[in-house]
Amino acid sequence: MLAAIAGAGAVRAQSVQTSAAPDAVAVTVYRAPDREADRKIDLGWLGGYALVTETRTVAIPAGRAVIRFEGVASGILPESAIVTGLPAGVREKNLDGELLSAASLYSRGYARPVTLRRTRDGKTVEERAIIRSGPEGSAIVETGRGIEILNCGPTEDAIAYDGVPAGLSARPTLSVETESPQGGTATVTLSYLAWGFDWQANYVATLHEGGAAADLFAWVTLASTDMTSFADAQTMVVAGKVNRTTMRTSNPYESPDSFEFRCYLKDNIGGAADAAGIPPPAPAPPAPPVAMYRTAQEVVVTGARVRKVEQEDLGDLKAYRVPEPTTVAAKSQKQVALLGKDAVPVSIVYESKVFSHQVAELQILVRAVNRADKGLGLPLPAGPVALFERQGQHALLIGESATDDKAVGEEVEVKFPIAANVTVEARDIASKGRERTRELVVSNANPFAIRYEADFNLNGEVKAPTRLGSKNGRKLWAAVVPANGTATLRYREIAPR
């Protein structure tokens, strides 16, 4: 067995050391570069990535040696791999894309003898044969009788190989070649980027009755579709916009070559049912559905007692560290608390954009100031926001929206595009030359007063009897609409010459 491994394809007499798994691992997860704040994580195709840092203990032989790191992430971007801690440095790094599979075994077995197991009516006969075709051409072998096609006769055929050819790994493996003057044991740090991860912040805001304050809770949701699990990992997520120029490519591990036994017989020809054929492997399946398991933590809405992530600066980015080691499992999603703040002062404004000939749909703006003295004061990563309103014992979903990255000190403004009880109507009163007179009527069917803002998106000038404010270089009308009442603005729009 060992002789077969050493013989089949080893090019140089070189000692090979294998590190089966890391001693310790750290995983830093980055968002999908192009995913908007309001778009959910796509569990079918995670567009984000992770920096995986592994600490491994390896025995290093004297002279030239190959050190194999087994069990790296299957989405590894091998050109990003950094290996430090080897006494003699790294001569070269290799990612061998040929994973141990039916196709690679057959391909490497070309012109070599194998054992055929041929079964008919429950009886199995074994015989030796030599592989004569490539895996693209199905299985054609040379037996003592002549050239035969496997699974193309009365028997059900299988191939037994004498050994695993060198260089075929069962698990994603990165190898480095070293040349060390003397042998010894080294603690090696291996780090690399890997695709197939993603994370986002999810905010839940619950308005107090009256709408002057809200309880804010946020989760960090992180997901992995990698084949490899990272147990007890130091886990961080990074917020902010990180520039990427290399796009996700399909890793060889994610698309192994397919291989099937084929006969010259077409289906339905010859009468016999094609039952003996081994069913062809399914064509490379899309990423399997991800088990949507959540951590054992209970969902706590006011999360003052939940262990939260710790925030730190990373250059111009923001990092959030999960306080205790956690397992970033293969094909799974997990959530950790980001923040929980009760009674954050907020203000609620109903807003509509006013154009020359129409008024855009009303939106509810929930505003807060991201400062410690205003109840917040934490860099807020982009993510969806769900807004609830507490009504007695119940919480009612008002709407879902999203926020971008918000730095400390910034105004946070989240827009929810619904307001059933408040309506805005605009109508023409008069028109003369370049001048039009229009009237804006805001009706409030709520039993409480609301604040309303009209944001004038006009090319021309706006004139009104009341003093208009200004925001972002545009005119703004701010008004308080009384409970079950209306507010009216008559304004003149003067078109540009």
Binding site: N94, A111, S138, P154, V238, T245, I269, G271
Partner: protein, 453 residues
């Protein structure tokens, strides 16, 4: 065990003699390649030179060259063998498949194994089913018939094979050099830069990354990488002021070449990296930059770009020409572990160049540009006032390189009538302000532009 009939048992006994001979070949597993040299270019192209020893009989003979690239460009094959003339060369890509095997057997004799019987048969046709003649009867083969073919047809190959017909003047071994271009191989460079912001330094390691998807493994190859010509361009956000220094690297014409020391094996589907650059403590600086397009405005503040600047100069830089590739930048986190902060592509960069690459956007440094007023002065003139509000949530002051673009709109002239801070007109199209934004504070720049229409 099923009882074997005498004929089959005899055949197996014969195989028992024949098979061990091949079993020996397994331990040696020789590649047919000889002394091999591979020159890899950036754009999915490689030149392979393969020196093999040919044993030629006198006169015409057909020689197979197995283990050439599966993505060989047959039209580029040249073979130099002293004392032999090339008559023709063939690239057979008719793959050995069950269907092809049966097609080629039409008109040939095969053996049909049916139960315990070995029946001599002749294949008459293979058109949607194999029609054979067995003992004077015409039958269509079914699932219970096993066909044993006497030999493989010579034109069917397990993998694409090059064959050359040679006319040799005498019998005997001679060295032959086969060279060809192949697709499926390429290389680029990958840089790992660890940035120490406080010290203003970067440590850079450069790796040559070669990939082989040509379908063949090249064993113990003498490998050379050629930079330049059809290389990758730097992407948007990476800026280079070209240098004029000559790097101490081997060159071929205008191209730098990177020989890989020693002999390496480039396996099929392998990605291999070899170190070529290791510089510690080169000066580097971080900067913030934002370019506002003409009349560009934001309702929500947006982050400015974070830019890393360094040089490839001999003095105060990396001191080498940088082949095109990707620069990945890392910084240490609070616990000292390097973390990834962004990457960008660079084009082929001569030594002595100044490089500025965008690594990402600053979470804490933001800008909001507002078109404050835009009014028509007369029939041909517009006056536009822009207000740029810059905020900084960092505990230290930041300087933002704010550029207003679009000033060179067609053939008309744009003037800045007044501005709260002096700008530099860096080119016809752009004005630049260096805005210092205090720690945890904000700064505002107002400028009025007069454009002709």
């Amino acid at each position: 065990m099923r009882r074997l009939n005498p004929v089959l048992a005899g055949a197996l006994a014969a195989a028992g003699v024949a098979l061990p001979g091949i079993a020996i070949a397994q331990t040696a597993a020789p590649s047919a390649q000889g002394d091999i040299s591979v020159t890899i270019y950036n754009n999915n192209l490689a030149l392979v030179q393969d020196k093999r020893e040919l044993h030629l009989p006198a006169g015409k003979s057909k020689q197979d060259f197995p283990d050439v690239s599966a993505q060989i460009r047959p039209e580029t094959v040249t073979l130099a063998a002293p004392g032999a003339t090339i008559v023709e060369q063939n690239f057979d890509f008719d793959l050995l498949t069950p269907e092809a095997l049966m097609e080629k057997a039409v008109g040939q004799n095969v053996t049909v194994v049916r139960g315990t019987q070995n029946l001599p048969a002749k294949v008459l046709a293979y058109n949607n089913g194999a029609v054979v003649e067995i003992g004077g009867r015409i039958e269509v083969l079914g699932k219970d018939d096993r066909v044993v073919f006497p030999a493989l047809p010579p034109s069917l190959r397990a993998r694409p094979t090059l064959s050359v017909t040679l006319d040799a003047d005498a019998t005997g071994p001679r060295p032959a050099t086969l060279s060809y271009l192949t697709y499926g191989m390429g290389w680029k460079s990958d840089y790992v830069a660890l940035f120490d912001e406080k010290a203003g330094k970067i440590d850079v390691q450069g790796w040559l990354t070669l990939t082989n998807n040509s379908g063949t493994t090249y064993s113990n190859a003498n490998t050379l990488l050629v930079a330049g010509g059809g290389g990758i361009r730097g992407s948007a956000g990476s800026l280079m002021v070209p240098g004029t220094e000559t790097a101490g690297r081997e060159r071929v014409g205008d191209f730098y070449v990177y020989p890989i020391p020693g002999r390496v094996t480039i396996a099929q589907r392998q990605q291999k990296q070899v170190s070529f650059l290791d510089v510690a403590g080169a000066p580097a600086a971080k900067a913030y930059a934002y370019r506002n397009p003409w009349l560009g405005r934001q309702d929500q503040p947006r982050s400015v770009d974070t830019v890393l600047r360094f040089s490839s100069s001999k003095d105060g830089g990396l001191g080498d020409a940088l082949p095109a590739g990707t620069v990945r930048i890392y910084m240490r986190d609070a616990r000292g572990a390097p973390q990834f902060i962004g990457e960008n592509a660079i084009g082929h960069t001569p030594m002595g160049s100044r490089i500025a690459i965008k690594t990402g956007e600053a979470f804490d440094v933001k800008i909001k540009a507002v078109v404050q007023t835009r009014e028509r002065v007369n029939s041909s003139k517009w006056r536009t006032t822009m207000v740029y509000t810059l905020t900084n949530a960092r505990p230290e002051a930041a300087t933002v390189e704010l550029t207003q673009g679009g000033l060179d709109s067609w053939w008309k002239d744009t003037r800045i009538l007044n501005e709260t801070q002096a700008s530099e007109r860096i080119n016809a199209d752009e004005a630049l302000w260096l805005v210092s934004v205090p720690a945890n504070g904000e700064a505002t720049v107002t400028a009025t532009f007069e454009t002709r229409y």
